[in-house]
Every structure is written in structure tokens, then in C-alpha cells.
């Protein structure tokens, strides 16, 4: 017992742990923030969606549209401008509210540029014209809904029998999001937790002080990695618990395969983190390096939205990113009931990546 208490690895781990929990930011960003963001996004995407469109009417006074508005719309004021609000109820697709605002062409364009409105409607010779950017999905949706509505203003009110809603577990947005969030949390916690700690230790010359004593270098690194990985397990468990409690998200596939892939992810990003921090002694350039690795993956790896919307040629490359492999693997286990075999490739690849990066990082590691 006494020998354990004076053991240097044990002491290094204790100190690392104390430093971590005494950093309130770490606890907030690592544990509370992911839970909050998943609750926020989860609620946003599971509520029966209410969509709202802002439509600018230019020169439509006394036309067909105007007469529809006087029947179905409700007149009100918005920022001193006359506005008609037309609510359409729809049991399956959710309710839609259209705000019609009268304007002149120049102001309408400005409003569109600012993103205040979605489309502009004009009327020439009682033919309605729609003006919008065809690449803007929201504007396109507004156009399709509105043009259908104007053609048959009364039909859409009731539930539409040809649509059968899918609310199975695994196809909701939250099912897509939670596994991705676990993967992303794991990556950022390791990159910041390990790289930044090492770089800061080097920049404060503490690393040099440590190796000037009979400390084993491997113990120093093991302590940092061990504490980080323990924190990651805690973070993931907390997130899983809330996801299950609030949204009934749970692992449908093999829990063992999930655990192994989780370990593989930790190994992979630990290796990357050590490689990133192996030489830098300036925290600024360290921050830059970490962002350089993290940002592209955060945007491309389909954490928040599927990467299948990206151009075809890029998808092959995106799939090679370690975060993509990890997030897709988690999703397969969570939502498709995948087991050991289905995630064997990403698991093995992540282990290899971690090992290669770690060895390279150690090779170039600058201890002073």
C-alpha cells in the first residue's frame, strides 16, 4: 500500500486527475455542453415541426393573390408594415405559417439578401411569378408549398393519406446525431486534453524540469492518456444516459463491438494528439495545429449533417477520415444493429492509425 502511494505513475495520474477536475471549463465543455447541445438539437428535431415562410409581395395589390389573402389571411402589423398571416394546418407534415409582406422591388431584394425573407412574389397579368435563388433549399420549399397552396387553397388542410410517417427508432435525426456527437466529443477531448496539456507543459519549461528528475518519460505520457480516456468513458456514459432518458436512443447492436470501437477511437486520436504535440512549444501554434486537424473533420465527417450531400467525388475521401469511420461505425451499431463483424474494418483501421501516429510522435518527441 505504501509503495503504491509513493509510486510515480500513481502520483502522476493523481496530479493529472486533480488538474483536470479543478478546471471548470473542462467539465463544462466536456460533459455539460454535449448533453445540452444534444437536448437542444434533439428537441428541435423531434418536435412536430412548425415551418414559417416570409414572402414579399411586390405589386400584387388587387390581384388574385390579394383576394386569397383577404379570405384566408389575417391582417396584422409587423415593423410598421401591413402583413397578412396565413396559417395552414397539416396533421402529418406539421403546420405552416406564411407571412405576406407588401414591399417594393428594391426593398424586397435587400430583405432577401439579409435572409429576412425567403421568396419574392410578383403578379403580371394575373400570372403569379416567383423569384428566388434556386440553390437555396428553404426558398425552394417555400415556392413548392406556396404554389401548391395558391392553386388549391383548401385541399391541404387534412391529413394526407399517401404519406406514412416513419418514426421507427434509428431513423430519427436524434438517432443520427447522438452517435456522431459521441465520436466528436471523443476526438475533441483527446486532441485538446492531450495535445494542449503537453504543449503547455513544454512551453512552461515544466517538461524540462520533469525530465531533469528521475521520472520515467513513459509514465508521464501514460498518466495523461489514462486520465483523458477515463474522462472520455465518463462523458460518453453520461451522454448515453441522457440520450436514453430523454429520446429513447440506445445501442441496438452489439455492446461489445461498441466498446471495442470506442477503445479504437481513443487509441486513434490519442496517437494523433501525441503526434500533434510532439515538437511544438508555443501554445498558439499548438492551437492552430489542433484546429487544423479538428475543423475539417468536424465539418466533413457528417457529425451534424450527413456528408452524402457533398459532391460525389469527395465522398470517397471523406469516408477515409478517422472521425467519419468512427461516427459511421457508431451509427451502424446504434441504429442498424451492427455487431463485431460489420465494424471490424473501421475498428482495425483506427487501431493501426493510432499506433502509427503514436510511434511517429514518440520518434520526434521533443522533451525539452
Amino acid at each position: 500500500m505504501k509503495s503504491l502511494k509513493n509510486n510515480q505513475l500513481y502520483r502522476l495520474i493523481l496530479c493529472r486527475f486533480a488538474e483536470t477536475v479543478r478546471e471548470p471549463e473542462v467539465l463544462f465543455w466536456g460533459i455539460i455542453f454535449p448533453v445540452l447541445i444534444s437536448i437542444g438539437l434533439g428537441l428541435a428535431f423531434t418536435q412536430n415541426n412548425e415551418s414559417k415562410f416570409n414572402i414579399l409581395c411586390v405589386g400584387t395589390q388587387g390581384t388574385e393573390l390579394d383576394s386569397l389573402l383577404t379570405i384566408y389571411g389575417e391582417k396584422s402589423e409587423k415593423k410598421g408594415k401591413e402583413t397578412f398571416i396565413w396559417k395552414v394546418e397539416d396533421a402529418t407534415l406539421g403546420n405552416t405559417t406564411y407571412h405576406f409582406i407588401h414591399s417594393d422591388w428594391d426593398n424586397a431584394i435587400i430583405s432577401l439578401k439579409r435572409g429576412e425573407s425567403d421568396i419574392i412574389v410578383t403578379d403580371s397579368l394575373s400570372k403569379i411569378g416567383y423569384h428566388f435563388d434556386p440553390n437555396n433549399a428553404q426558398a425552394q420549399l417555400a415556392y413548392m408549398k406556396l404554389s401548391a397552396l395558391v392553386q388549391s387553397p383548401t385541399r391541404i388542410h387534412s391529413a394526407q393519406p399517401q404519406i406514412s410517417p416513419l418514426t421507427l427508432k434509428g431513423v430519427r435525426y436524434i438517432d443520427f446525431f447522438i452517435p456522431g456527437l459521441i465520436a466528436f466529443g471523443l476526438m475533441s477531448s483527446l486532441l485538446w486534453g492531450i495535445s494542449y496539456t503537453i504543449i503547455e507543459c513544454r512551453s512552461q519549461r515544466l517538461l524540462r524540469r520533469l525530465i531533469a528528475s528521475p521520472m520515467r518519460k513513459s509514465n508521464y505520457l501514460i498518466a495523461i492518456m489514462f486520465v483523458r480516456i477515463v474522462m472520455n468513458v465518463a462523458e460518453a456514459l453520461i451522454l448515453l444516459f441522457f440520450a436514453w432518458l430523454l429520446f429513447d436512443v440506445y445501442i441496438q447492436g452489439s455492446i461489445g463491438a461498441f466498446a471495442l470501437l470506442f477503445v479504437a477511437g481513443n487509441v486513434a486520436f490519442t496517437g494523433v494528439a501525441v503526434l500533434l504535440s510532439c515538437r511544438t512549444s508555443k501554445t498558439e501554434s499548438g492551437t492552430g495545429l489542433i484546429n487544423l486537424v479538428q475543423m475539417p473533420m468536424m465539418l466533413l465527417s457528417g457529425i451534424f449533417f450527413s456528408y452524402h450531400n457533398f459532391p460525389e467525388w469527395s465522398i470517397g475521401a471523406i469516408k477515409l477520415l478517422p472521425l467519419t469511420a468512427l461516427a459511421d461505425g457508431f451509427r451502424a451499431i446504434f441504429n442498424e444493429g451492427a455487431g463485431w463483424l460489420q465494424v471490424a474494418t473501421p475498428t482495425a483501421a483506427l487501431f493501426v492509425l493510432g499506433a502509427v501516429c503514436f510511434v511517429a510522435g514518440m520518434r520526434w518527441f521533443k522533451w525539452q
Binding site: N6, N7, Q8, R11, L14, Q204, R205, L206
Partner: protein
């Protein structure tokens, strides 16, 4: 005890240490005195085995760093010119950590805490320590393993006179026990003068003069200040004041 033989070290185009040789006897207190940029830190870090000389040899108790690093790490103690200990650790935690590197326990930790007078700060986070307390903590980490040789790089730079005096007292006490050999660098005359038996004056990477205070001073120079001006044509204190502010 320590032997430095014709040591050279350059960084790119800066020749930091240019052929320095001297030796230190057991139990001696030696000061390396010189202005900023003289090469003191570079020299001490080579003696501490943290840098390799470009050429020349350094032996500690007849052993070289290359062959006996493990052994030498056990018998030396050191504090670097600037070390910031982890802000979120407490004084006692830092010392327990460093003690564990020598397989030492709480007893020795509490002993050194008493030795440097940090008893009422043992549970303070290092970020809440004053400059003087921080230097005393650095000294405590250096003393944990009862080192035979102690290296202190500018132990009192930037401290107010009172804190500096406290630190000198701790070192005086160590000297009176006589078990420790000390090598410190400084640009304060008084520090070299009051603590050390042997003073080595360094400028621009070479030794200008070395000896005991009596040997160094003669009819032309009545104190170290005058001596330094006579030898180099510049003053020590001007440089050191710039650092203080």
C-alpha cells in the same frame, strides 16, 4: 566533484559558451557571475545533463552524463531559470509528485516544506504563490532527494530584497551543514559575495576571472562591481536592472 573541461556550445550563429574549464570541490559553494546572455544558463544546463556540449567534457564525481545519466539524476538537485509548476496543483501535491520520482514519501515532503518555510502554504495552489514562495517551492523540489550537488539557476532573480534574503538564509543553513555542493548562477554581486566561497566571472561565453573574493579583489578593485567594470568595460547591475523592470 565536478569537472568541466574546455566546453563549447553554439546555437546557430550564437556562440553561447566558448571554451570553459573549471572544477568544483566537494562541499564548495560556487557562483557563476555574469550579465544576461553571458552563457550561464547554457553552461549549467550542460552540467545538469539537459544539453549536450558541442565539444569538451563534463564529469560529475568522475562520471559522464552519457554513461551514467540514471545514477547522476539520483544525486543532483536543481531548479531551472524559469519553471512554472502546474497552476492547479497544491504545493504539497507538487512535492509529493517530485518525491515519488525518488521513491520518497510524505515524511521527506514535510521535512522540505519546513526547511523552506512553506508550512502555511502547503495546501495553496501554486498559482496563488508569490514570486518568493514560488522560488522556495522550486528550491524544495531540488532538495527532496538530499542532493550531493545542487544547481540553482538565478534563484533570486526578480525577487524583492526581503524574499531574496529569506532564500539566502535557507542556503546559508544548508552550507553550515556542509553536505551539499552548490553551484548557482546570478548577476547579483551581493549574492555571489555573501554565499559563495568561489566566484567565477563569465562574460560572452568565457571565464574572465575566478577565485575567492579575496583573490579577486586587489588594490585597483575594491568590490566586484569595480572589478567587473575594469575587466569588461561595462557594468553588471545595469543589465540586471533592465530585467527586474
Amino acid at each position: 566533484m565536478i569537472e568541466v573541461k574546455n566546453v563549447y556550445k553554439s546555437f546557430k550563429d550564437v556562440h553561447a559558451v566558448r571554451g570553459i574549464s573549471f572544477s568544483v570541490r566537494q562541499g564548495e559553494f560556487v557562483a557563476l557571475l555574469g550579465p544576461n546572455g553571458a552563457g550561464k544558463t547554457t553552461l549549467v544546463e550542460m552540467m545538469e545533463g539537459l544539453r549536450k556540449p558541442d565539444s569538451g567534457d563534463i564529469f560529475i564525481q568522475g562520471k559522464s552524463w552519457k554513461k551514467s545519466e540514471k545514477e547522476l539524476r539520483q544525486i543532483i538537485g536543481l531548479s531551472l531559470q524559469e519553471t512554472r509548476f502546474p497552476e492547479k496543483l497544491k504545493v504539497r501535491e507538487v512535492l509529493r509528485l517530485f518525491a515519488s520520482f525518488f521513491k520518497l514519501g510524505t515524511e521527506r515532503v514535510d521535512e522540505v516544506i519546513a526547511l523552506v518555510g512553506l508550512e502555511n502554504k502547503r495546501q495553496s495552489l501554486t498559482k496563488n504563490l508569490s514570486g518568493g514562495q514560488r522560488q522556495r517551492l522550486a528550491l524544495a523540489t531540488a532538495l527532496l532527494n538530499r542532493p550531493q550537488i545542487l544547481f540553482l539557476d538565478e534563484p533570486t532573480t526578480g525577487l524583492d530584497p526581503h524574499s531574496r534574503f529569506d532564500l539566502w538564509n535557507i542556503l546559508q543553513e544548508l552550507k553550515s551543514k556542509g553536505d551539499t555542493t552548490l553551484l548557482l548562477t546570478t548577476h547579483y554581486m551581493e549574492e555571489a559575495q555573501s554565499l559563495c566561497d568561489h566566484i567565477i566571472i563569465i562574460d560572452e561565453g568565457v571565464i574572465i576571472k575566478g577565485g575567492s573574493l579575496n583573490e579577486l579583489l586587489d588594490d585597483q578593485s575594491h568590490n566586484l562591481d569595480e572589478l567587473f567594470i575594469r575587466l569588461t568595460g561595462k557594468t553588471l547591475t545595469d543589465n540586471s536592472n533592465q530585467v527586474l523592470k
